[in-house]
């Protein structure tokens, strides 16, 4: 557990952080968010004493950080920054081994650990261990950055806009991976971002800051539903219902009860469709190759004509995808169902609009009862990814949409 007690940082005339207090229970992700200059990064950097507080206390598991030598303290706190800061003269493996080496681990102890970590962050150890940072893409570099921070298995992780410098698609993937790693490892994480969607997706608690003060510290649901001030309300955005969808994952609402065949369109007939909308086509490995639209079959078309071949990377979602992204994908494709595949494209099931609606109904937002305009006419708020907004703005009519992929 980590507790900030009335922490203040003053620079001459400027007060960067002003009497901030909050607690992060062990194993939770606390996201610090706010407009630029609100003091969120300063707050983060005071936790590992890269910046010394002017007054107040920071206590980690009962110990005041001011009582621990800074180097010693930092070696037991994972640290990830936006610009990654990998050491360019060291290989990926050497980068990851940095903190274990500082802690005096034997090679026999840190070598297997390095390989294990690379696998954890989704990099093939054989391929990447000997590479140098400049041979990596931005997303790969940030994975190595996360592996490096986790190397000595610190209980606490500080992350300063870790996914801020990569393209939206990579960011979405890194977020999903981070959520997965966090579910496995259960670290206590303090995470700085200015991206509301990222905060809602990853946070157990959000600390919203403004001008060095803590505006509200609570769960994402509470910030969305019970904003403490107009500032919080405005900052979180008006599309609260849609934002909530950013917290749930496809895995929570998907069904694995789908029809599929490896025999191509020949394996599909009108009768075999039963109640389903789609009959999925896969190869022998189960990789999604396309589908037959049963509604079109009903109209008397042959299975060949009703079939569509697709690239699963574009036409399907994965279990870690947020419902918000899944909904956006449905709107883009023009269907009420979308296939769910694993990371290699193998069909796992599907997720339907009605399942998403039920999730919403469980909260107090009733997406299903809202007139269409209110869902689709999302004001162009900060935080809605432009591509999602573009898809929403198209005003797709789900029933008659054409598959364009």
């Amino acid at each position: 557990m980590i507790a900030l007690e009335d922490v203040t940082k003053r620079y001459d005339s400027l007060t960067a952080v002003d009497g901030v207090s909050f607690e992060v229970p062990s194993g939770e992700v606390c996201v610090l968010i706010g407009p630029s200059g609100c003091g969120k990064t300063t707050t983060l950097r005071m936790i590992n004493r890269l910046i010394e507080p002017t007054s107040g206390r920071i206590v980690i598991d009962g110990r005041d950080v001011m009582g621990i030598r800074p180097e010693e303290l930092r070696r037991h706190i994972g640290y990830v920054i936006q610009s990654v800061g990998l050491f360019p003269h060291l290989t990926v493996a050497e980068n990851v081994a940095t903190v274990p080496k500082l802690l005096g681990w034997e090679r026999s102890r840190y070598s297997p650990r390095v390989l294990e970590l690379l696998e954890i962050v989704g990099l093939d150890a054989d391929e990447y261990a000997k590479k140098y940072p400049r041979q990596l893409s931005g997303g790969q570099a940030q994975r190595v950055g996360v592996a490096r921070a986790l190397a000595a298995d610190p209980p606490l992780l500080l992350m300063d806009e870790p996914f801020g410098a990569v393209d939206p698609l990579t960011r979405e993937r890194l977020q999903a991976e981070f959520a997965r790693i966090q579910r496995e490892l259960g670290k206590t994480v303090v995470f700085v971002t200015h991206d509301v969607d990222e905060a809602i997706r990853l946070a157990d608690r959000i600390a919203l800051m403004r001008d060095g003060r803590l505006e509200q510290y609570d769960t994402p649901e509470a910030l969305l539903d019970h904003p403490a001030s107009k500032f919080v309300h405005d900052f979180m955005g008006a599309d609260r219902a849609l934002k909530r969808l950013g917290r749930a994952r496809v895995a929570d609402v998907m069904t694995s009860d789908v029809l599929s065949t490896t025999d191509g369109t020949g394996g599909v007939s009108r009768e075999s469709c039963k109640e389903a909308r789609f009959f999925y086509l896969t190869d022998d490995e189960g990789t999604l190759e396309g589908w037959v639209d049963c509604h079109v079959l009903d109209a008397g078309t042959s299975p060949e004509e009703a079939g569509t071949l697709v690239d699963w990377r574009e036409a399907a979602v994965q279990p870690d995808t947020t419902l918000k992204e899944a909904l956006s994908r449905m709107l883009g494709l023009g269907f009420r169902n979308v296939a769910v595949v694993d990371e290699r494209g193998r069909l796992l099931g599907e997720v339907s609009l009605s399942a998403i609606e039920r999730t919403m109904a469980e909260g107090d937002a009733h997406i299903a009862n809202l007139p269409e305009g209110e869902i689709l006419g999302v004001p162009p708020e900060e935080g809605v990814p432009p591509e999602a907004r573009a898809q929403l703005d198209e005003g797709v009519q789900p029933e008659e949409g054409e598959v364009t992929t």
Binding site: E71, H76, I81, F87, T91, T98, L158
Partner: protein, 364 residues
Amino acid sequence: MALAGCLLLPFVEFRPNRIASGVPEGFAVAGLSGWLLVAAAALALISAFLPARSRGPALLGTGAATAILLLSALGSAAERLQEGAPVIARVSIGSGAWLAAIGAITVWFAGSRATGSVRVNRAVSVIALLAGLAVMLWGSVGELSLAKEYAVQSRRFWMLVRQHLVLSGAGLGAGMLIGVPLGVLASRSRVVRDFGLGVVSVIQTIPSMAMLGLLIAPLAALGLTAIGTTPAVIALALYALLPIMRNTFVGLAGVDPATIDAGRGMGMGRLQLLFRVEVPLALPLVIEGVRAAAVLVIGIAAVTAFIGAGGLGILVFQGWGQQADDLTLLGAVPMVVLAVFADAAMRMLRRLAVSPGIEEGGLS
């Protein structure tokens, strides 16, 4: 240029004795190897206009061949001219041959640049070196005046080479011992940066002869004379200081702040950060500074012969004093060779010491 040198300017000069002025002779006096040389130079000229892909290897080959043939042709020319002449007659290398040498080496380097393959370049260098040695051993290079001066002076020559190396090495070493820490301090402290770099830059502008004179007073204050090895090494160290200190500072200042932030954030102490992150990242520039300093110091070490520090400068000044140009050359040419070797050694060191992760082309 090599071609023009061969054709237009005197290739060698024939002198009746060591110090008399010579009679110019053209390349044809070398006979067959002279003509081969011209042919090689002509090919080199043609190579320059080849399409990009074959230009590199062609320049490389013809440049190296021209250099070797030049050596061989000089020997032949000397041998032929001295046939029947009195023993004290000398054959010196003429301006045309010098120009040809410069041209050949320029072509060679241009070729190695254009080829860009370390392996090919190394192979050509080794072959050329072996061929050069062969020409030296079995050819008639020994008939040249330069070689005759060497034959007379050989024992003293090697002693002076050693002295020169010791002087330059000590000066460079002292310059590194002071310059690198000063560079590190300059990257930490504004005062050291502004003041230190300023002072060192001023030192750099003092002409070398003036420096040796200026050192008299401070050395006397320390109870030392301004004659001999010690003041020479001090002067050389002072000259080595600027490139080393400045490059160390620039190298350290160029380290990405994010890298340093990451290092601090992971719990590195100041010294760990310096030695594990900053110095390895600044190393290419530091070595580059040492390389520049080495070449500089080898040159300036010649002047320290004036204050009795010895070194190859002695041969140069004696040669001037006796108007024996070839004796001067016997001092000057090895200095050039030393500088070239120092340069190559530092490049090699850089390849070995600098991480391939930060070297241009280090990951091919």
